[in-house]
C-alpha cells in the first residue's frame, strides 16, 4: 500500500516535470531571434502552387497582389507526415516499416492513455462501473484492451527493429551515440515492462483504478504488484526525462518545418521593428574584414 501511495505522488511529480519541461522547450525554440529566410519548396501553404512547389515569387509585382496562405495546406502536409511519415515511406520502405510501426504503436499508446483517463472519469465521477453492461462502458472496456495491446506490440516490434538496425549496420552504429541508444532502450524497457504488466492485468482494470486514484486525490491507489510497480517507475522516469531528450523531436519538427522550411513570409514592413532590433546587436567575429565589436547595421553599411 505504501508503495502504491508513493507511486501515486511520483506520478504527479513526473507529470508536472513533463509539462514544465515541454513548455520550457517550446518557449526556448519560439523565443529564438528571427532568422534570415531559408525556405525550401514545396511549401504547402502556397495556394494553387504547392502541388508543384511554386511560390508567390512566380508573379510579377508579387508584393502588390496580396499573399494567400492556406492553413489547410500546411495542416494537410503536417498530418500526412505525422500520421504516415511519408518522407521515409517515399524513399526507404524498409526503414519506414520499422519507424512507422514504432510511431504508430506510440500514437496508439497515447490514445490508450486517453481511454484509461476517460474510463477513470466514467467510474469515478459518473458512477458507471467498467466493466458493466452500459454501452459506453462496454465500448471503453474493449477498445482500451485492443488499442493498448496492439499499440504496445507494434511499438515493441518497431522499436526492436530500429535498435537492431542501428546495431547491425556499420554506418548507423558509427553515427549512433550513447544517448541515442539510451533513449531507444529506455522507451523499449517501458514498452516491454508494460507488456509484462498486462499479463497480470489483462483488461486494464488495475490501470484504470490507478488512474482513478490519480484524478481523485482522496481515492487511495489500488494494490500494485511488483511488475506493475517496475513498469510504473520506468514510465514515470521517461515522462520526466522526455523534455530533456531528443524524444522532443516532435517539437523540433514543428519548428524546422513551420518556422524555417515553410517560413516564406516576406517583410512588408511588419518585421521592420524586429529586424531593427537585431541589426543593433554587436558581433564579435575576429577576422579583420569584420568590424568586431560593432553592430550588424554598422558592419553592413560600412
Amino acid at each position: 500500500m505504501i508503495y502504491a501511495l508513493v507511486f501515486k505522488y511520483t506520478s504527479y511529480i513526473s507529470f508536472i516535470i513533463f509539462v514544465i519541461g515541454i513548455a520550457y522547450k517550446w518557449w526556448k525554440w519560439s523565443s529564438m531571434p528571427l532568422h534570415l529566410r531559408w525556405e525550401l519548396y514545396p511549401v504547402p501553404h502556397e495556394v494553387l502552387k504547392a502541388e508543384y512547389g511554386g511560390s508567390y515569387l512566380e508573379e510579377v509585382n508579387w508584393w502588390l497582389k496580396g499573399r494567400l496562405v492556406s492553413v489547410f495546406g500546411e495542416l494537410k502536409e503536417m498530418f500526412k507526415e505525422m500520421l504516415f511519415i511519408v518522407r521515409i515511406y517515399r524513399s526507404n520502405k524498409r526503414l519506414w516499416l520499422l519507424s512507422y510501426s514504432f510511431h504508430l504503436g506510440i500514437y496508439l499508446i497515447l490514445i490508450w492513455f486517453i481511454l484509461i483517463f476517460l474510463g477513470a472519469i466514467t467510474t469515478t465521477y459518473i458512477g458507471i462501473p467498467i466493466p458493466s453492461m452500459n454501452p459506453w462502458a462496454i465500448f471503453v472496456y474493449y477498445v482500451t484492451i485492443i488499442i493498448g495491446i496492439v499499440g504496445d506490440v507494434l511499438a515493441i516490434v518497431g522499436g526492436l527493429g530500429l535498435l537492431v538496425r542501428r546495431l547491425v549496420s556499420p554506418v548507423l552504429r558509427d553515427y549512433t551515440t550513447i544517448p541515442d541508444y539510451f533513449n531507444l532502450i529506455l522507451v523499449l524497457l517501458a514498452l516491454m515492462s508494460g507488456l509484462l504488466a498486462w499479463f497480470f492485468d489483462p483488461s486494464f482494470n488495475l490501470a484504470r483504478e490507478f488512474m482513478s486514484s490519480l484524478i481523485n486525490p482522496l481515492l487511495p491507489p489500488p494494490y500494485l504488484n511488483v511488475i506493475t510497480i517496475v513498469h510504473l517507475a520506468i514510465v514515470q522516469i521517461i515522462i520526466a526525462y522526455i523534455p530533456f531528450s531528443k524524444i522532443t523531436h516532435f517539437i523540433g519538427k514543428y519548428f524546422t518545418y513551420h518556422k524555417v522550411l515553410w517560413d516564406d513570409e516576406p517583410n512588408m514592413g511588419q518585421l521592420d521593428g524586429k529586424i531593427q532590433e537585431l541589426l543593433k546587436l554587436k558581433l564579435f567575429w575576429s577576422d579583420p574584414h569584420i568590424k568586431s565589436g560593432d553592430t550588424w547595421i554598422n558592419n553592413a553599411s560600412g
Binding site: 525550401l40 523540433g252 524546422t256 553592413a300
Partner: protein, 534 residues
Amino acid sequence: MGDKHTIIRIKDISKLGGQLVKLSLTDLMPLPPPYDKPGMEPPMTEPKPEWSKSYVTELDGYIAIDIPWKPKNKDEEGKLIEKFLEGLRKLTSKSDNWTFLQPLLLALEYCAKCQNCAEACPIYIASGRKEIYRPTYRSEILRRLYNKYIAKKPGADIELNIYTILRLGELAYRCTLCRRCVQVCPLGIDNGLIAHEIRKLFAQELGIAPKPLHERGTMLQLKAGSSTGMNPKAFLNMVKYMEDLIYEKTGKRIKIPVDEKGADILLIHNAGEYLSWPENPAAYAIIFEEAGISWTLSSELVGYDAVNYGVWYDDVQLARIALRHVEVARKLDVKKIVIGECGHATKALIVVADRILQGEYRIPRESVLPLLRDIVLSNKLNLDPSKNNFPVTLHDPCNIVRLAGIVQPQREILRRIAPLFREMEPHGVYNYCCGGGSGFAIMTSMNFTEWRVKVASRMKFKQILEAFRDVIDPKIPKYVCAPCSNCKGELRDLLMHYNATKFYNIHYGGLAELVVNAMVDLKEPYLDFLIKKE
C-alpha cells in the same frame, strides 16, 4: 549490402595525417551511353606533392580552399584549434549569428541519424557512395564538436585535433548547398545549412575561404564594383559592345539605358554574363526594347553586378552587398529591382536578404523570369517557335526553383517557344544541382575543377544524356537551357571536360537567348551554334 570498401568512420576525420579517401574512376557512378565505354572519360589525376605543404590534401586530395592556411608548427596549430572553438561558440550565439541561429541549433539538436538523406545527395551517389560525402558526415562532426566543447553534453565521441579542423574546412566545400537532402528528411534537418555554417565559422572567425569567393569575390566586388574586377568604365564599354553586338546580330540599333533615373526597373545581371555570355544581357535589351519596358542598368559600383557570394559563406558580406544593391536602386529612384538570370543572386537579394532590408531599404525585388514569361505570353514579341526546332531541355537552378519556388515561368516560356522541349528527370523542385552550386562554378584552383566535373556534376551530366538519349546523334544540335550564370559556368566546364559539344553537339545557354532566337524579324539565328551548322 556487403560493402567492400573500408568504411570511413566519423572519428577518422581526426586521423593523424594521410588522405582519407582516394577517388578512382571505377568507383564513381557509371555514366549512361554513349559515355559508358571505357576511355570516354578523361582519367583522374594525383594531387601534386608540393601542394600538401600549404593546402589541405588530407581529405580526398582535392583542394577547394586555395589560400595557404596550413599551420607550420605546433604553436600555430594550437592557435588554430583555439580560434576554431572560439568561432564555434560565436556560431551558436545570438548576437554573432542571429541570422541562422534557430535553423542551426534545430539541425544540431534533432537529427535522428536515420540516413534517409544520403540517397537524395547527388555528390554522395555520384562518388560511388563515399562515406565522407554523406550529407550527415560533416554535420555529425560539427554536432559532436558542439556537444562536447560548447554544450558540454555527454556522449559526444570525437577528438579535436588539427586534422579535424583541416579536413572539416575542406569538407564544407564538398556540398553545393542544393538542400535536396532536406526535402527527404522526416525531421526537416538541414545538412546543407550546416555546411553553410561551417563555411561561415571559417570565414568570419579565421578568415579562411576560397579566394574566388572572398578575396577575389565579395572583397573585390565591394572595392572594384564587381567580382569580375570590372570597373564602371569597363562596364560602360561593355554596354557599347553589346549595342554593337545587337546591331550585328539583329540589324537593330538599340540604345541600352544606363543610369536612367526614374525608370520602372533596375535590371541587375551577374557581371559574369557580360564577359562570358554577353548575348544573354543583350537578349534582355532586345526583348525589353521590343516590349516597351521602362528599365535601366546601373554603372555605379556594385550596381552592375548582381552576384552576392556572401550567401554561400559569410553573412556580413551578404548584408553589405545586399545593402549596396538597394542603395543603387534608391539613388536611381526605380520602382523595383529585377535580378537577371542568376540563381544565387536571385535567392540572395530577394529571399535571404529580405530580413536585413527594413524601412527605406525595403525596395521591391523580383526575378526576371516571371517578367519574361508575361512578355512572351502577352504576344508583344513576334515569335516563331519553329526557329527553335531542336531538342531543348531545362536545367532548374536550385536557388531559383527549390529555394525560391520559381518553377513554372521558365516552363511556360519554353512550351511557347521551343517545340522540342523535354524535361529532365527529376525536375522542378526535385531537380539535381548542376554541380557548380554554392560557388563551385567559379572555383577553379589547382585540381578542384576535376572534382567538380567528375563528382559534383556527374548526376547532372547523366540527366542531360538521358534527356537527349533519343537524339544523341551528333548531327542534331541540342540545347541545355540554364537560366543561371553559375549553372552555365558549370555546364561550360562539364561539357568541355566530356567533349560533349564536340562529340554530340550538346550546347548550353540561357533562356532569353532562346526567346530572341525565335523572333520572326531576325534574319540570322541569334544562337551561334546554329549559324555554324549552316
